[in-house]
């Protein structure tokens, strides 16, 4: 006996959640099944749409013969990408024709972002405009992004107010002074200084950020002083650290922290710090472990619950179990070693790309392991890449190709099945890392796949 639903979404990230909610809102009975805890917890929490249009042709024609795998012979040369873009929508036409934005149209991105705004509610900003915001990131660069957490709002780079960046020696992966220096080098229009303070010294050097967040959530006492007060006291002496061009010193209007200012109680933690410091407080999104990512994951899974979507985490889809007349009837789900059939009228594949393991590769080729869908790729492995690490790497665009209704396509460009749709990182055609478009591609492909799957299932 199969476990049945109208629509089965495979995956647990942004694209999977978007398509599940989109399908549920069309009236479908939706089930979502994912192999592992959502990879949103590794995400920065910034939701980008399109930050750059990278060159797809080298400055000069590529050297004859295969790439040399980094052996520095005749390195090929690529023009700088166009950007950072102010308006992601007007640039879509300059992307390659096979890019999901070109295939689905700009409105798919608009509607995907609108759905995200609805789900994220007051925890996110940026929905008031179609223009990108520039946000400082953990690496000291400035990223064009469409939506950003409310916790990061005061850090926006187009704001002219001087900023203090706070760091902690015990947070070894984060150096506030180097960070402030890189921001200055990036040409931000405000004065900035970095300072290392003593708060986290009460914890051992490799303390997890979740521990620091918990201490602030509960305002635990640190050496007899409540954590939030202790943190504010540690930062206060540095509020005049910023020196402007004329040599003058201003009290900073805003203070940036690594993103660990509480988990459940983030708003209250920021508000109290801000109150005590007399300055706006913001978080700088970090790499994993990422609290902004965890908070987004919590919020979106709560939304799934509220939309009546059923979800299960811990089970991979390992193959197709039964198909008839060009449609998949049931897929096989590995429930702790026991393969169990799951049936649906339509399926959305949103298992992620090479990193999320929605695509699998070895020296022989690149495959989509769950449904065995076609992945477009050159036969010769030496054509998968070019020499310049920042060039237009063909492998970055590998993935399942989709039609304008989100259906997964076969090698001939026809629908692989009548009832299989694909969304997110598993979809090919975009170079999301260079374009800064990963979230937008998930939202645009997710909303189309979800709606079309619901239509297919309920017609």
């Amino acid at each position: 006996m199969a476990i049945d639903s109208d629509v089965l979404v495979v995956g647990g990230g942004l694209a999977a959640i978007t398509s599940a909610v989109a399908a549920a809102r069309e009236g479908a009975d939706v089930r979502l099944v994912s192999h592992k805890s959502s990879t949103l917890r590794q995400a920065s929490g910034l939701v980008d749409a399109l930050g750059y249009v990278p060159a797809t042709e080298p400055a000069q024609p590529l050297r004859e013969g295969p790439p040399t795998a980094g052996r520095e012979l005749d390195r090929d040369d690529w023009p700088d990408p166009e950007g950072p873009l102010a308006d992601p929508f007007e640039a879509i036409d300059r992307l390659p024709e096979t890019h999901p934005y070109r295939v689905l149209g700009a409105d798919a991105l608009r509607e995907g972002l609108a759905l995200f705004d609805d789900l994220a509610g007051d925890a996110y900003r940026g929905g008031h405009t179609e223009t990108n915001a520039l946000l400082p990131t953990f690496g000291g660069s400035v990223k064009p992004t469409a939506r950003y957490p409310a916790a990061a709002e005061a850090g926006i780079a187009s704001d002219g107010r001087p900023a203090l960046i706070v760091g902690f020696r015990s947070l070894t992966e984060y150096d506030a002074r180097a960070f402030a220096g890189r921001l200055e080098a990036a040409g931000v229009p405000f004065d900035v200084a970095g300072a290392e303070v003593e708060f986290a010294e009460a914890f051992r050097a490799d303390t997890k950020v979740t521990r620091l967040a918990k201490a602030l959530d509960h305002d635990e006492e640190i050496d007899g002083v409540p954590a939030r007060e202790a943190l504010a006291k540690a930062v206060a002496p540095h509020l005049h650290d910023v020196v402007d061009e004329a040599g003058g010193v201003d009290r900073v209007g805003r203070v940036g922290f690594p993103a660990f200012l509480g988990d459940q109680e983030g708003d209250a933690v920021r508000a109290e710090l801000s109150d005590r410091l007399g300055a706006d407080v913001f978080e700088i999104p970090m790499g994993p472990p990422s609290l902004p990512g965890l908070r987004l994951e919590d919020r979106l899974y709560d939304a799934l619950d509220a939309e009546g979507v059923r979800f299960e985490t811990g089970f991979p889809v390992v193959g197709i179990e039964a198909e008839t007349d060009g449609s998949i009837e049931t897929v096989s789900v590995d429930r702790k070693g026991r393969e169990t059939p799951y049936g649906a009228d339509a399926f959305v594949l949103a298992t992620g790309g090479l990193v999320g393991k929605g695509l699998d590769s070895d020296r022989e080729g690149v495959r989509e392991p769950a449904f065995g869908l076609h992945v477009e790729q050159p036969e010769d492995r030496y054509e998968w890449f070019v020499d310049d690490a920042f060039g237009d790497q063909p492998y970055a665009r590998f993935g399942v190709r989709i039609g304008e209704d989100g259906r997964a396509l076969d090698a001939d460009g026809e629908a692989a099945y009548d009832n299989v749709f694909a969304a997110g990182g598993v979809v090919g055609g975009a170079d999301v890392a260079r374009e800064k478009s990963a979230s937008g591609v998930s939202l645009a492909t997710g909303i189309v796949a979800g709606r079309q799957a619901a239509t297919e299932a309920t017609q």
Partner: protein
Amino acid sequence: MTRHTDDNGEATDANGTSGGDDRAATDGGVESATGGTDAPELDPDAYDPVDVFPGGDLDLREGADSCYKCTSCDTSCPVAEVDEEFPGPKFQGPEQWRLKRKEDHDIDESITSCSNCMRCDDACPSSVPLSQMHNEARGQFVEEQMEKLSVEYVRNRILANYHTSAQLASVFPRTASFTMNFGPVRWVMEKTMGIPKERDFPEFATETFREWWKGRGGAQVENPDKRVAYFHGCYSNFNTPEVGKAMVRVYEHFGYEVMVPPQKCSGTPMFANGMLTDARRHAETNVESLVEAIGDGADVIASCTSCSLSLRQEYPELFDIHGIEDVSEHTYEALEYLRINEDLEGELAENELADEQSYAYHAPCHARNQGLSRQAVETFRDVDGVTMEDVGDSCSGISGTYGWKEEKYEKSMKIGAEMFEHMEDAEGDVGMTECPTCAMQMEHGTGYEIKHPLQLLEDAVVA
């Protein structure tokens, strides 16, 4: 009583060879005793328990190499969240495994602070067998580095072998329930054994589940096509037989023939305390009798999510006992099995409960690890008269025997704080969970009555 008084499982040499049997006996756990999942024939006499890792080491190299240090496991760890001294699962797993390749490298004592909630398994995008690594390291630490006469060792051994103490206590259940919670006795226990006096020992039932089962004359439904073997575990037998009774009545309602084979502890508290030899001894008995039931066409059903997780995951990961893979593949949690095989929601849609009740549901970590964290909410939320509220994804903090140690008590309550808050915020004043020790912690932190989903299912479809 049944076989488990006369069969203590020690009859078989743990390092046993196949004793004259000419079958290759080295990979009993890997090779299926049924010759594959779907083959019905099974010969319970044709296997021998074989020691898994003669050298004492599992080959975890591939797992260690799969780690790309994304820290998802650390982020998911409930202990690291409250204790900065705990270096987290990434260290305890792949990093410690690599370190101990070097000779003369001891296992770090912090491994004993891991509560074995196994959340890291589920968090790892790279399928690193973290809990398997933790179990191995903890077993090695206890075996080689822990002082066997220390109070801590003795206390942990007693806690881990709850099956044994509960069996004794249930001979005089009323006396035991009274004595174990008698103030002066508890003061002595804390001082001499490190058992926190804040905790209330669970009451022992005046009639165990097995006594009830025998008294009612065993199965009331016979059905060779639908058979299940009930693994009740220690707690449903000695402390909450009403959960076991609910299981039997619900399954019989759906036409199943219920078998109650001889069984010992699933091993969960032993793994968590690094007592792998004890766990293995119990596993041999369990595998033998469950393989026999599977041979009779039964699937194995557990009502405790830690028991089902142990049989499914830890057994084949840690022991090489012939037939252990079959037990793993045939084991299900009670509600899960009905959701897969019966039209549970259809049945529930036709029923309504006489009294309206809201429940604050907590998903145990070990349920989460079997993909079951949402099943109770999704099964009951549309039933008339029932309101189900998920109190979130935090850990209850007790983790079996963990919260029963004086030095871990405070940590345990700190981990549980978030769940207590969410329970208080929830509409209902009755808690619900599948795990008996989570239930203990929920009751301890809020004073709520705690039910098992099977009890609600019994009310809805049987009554």
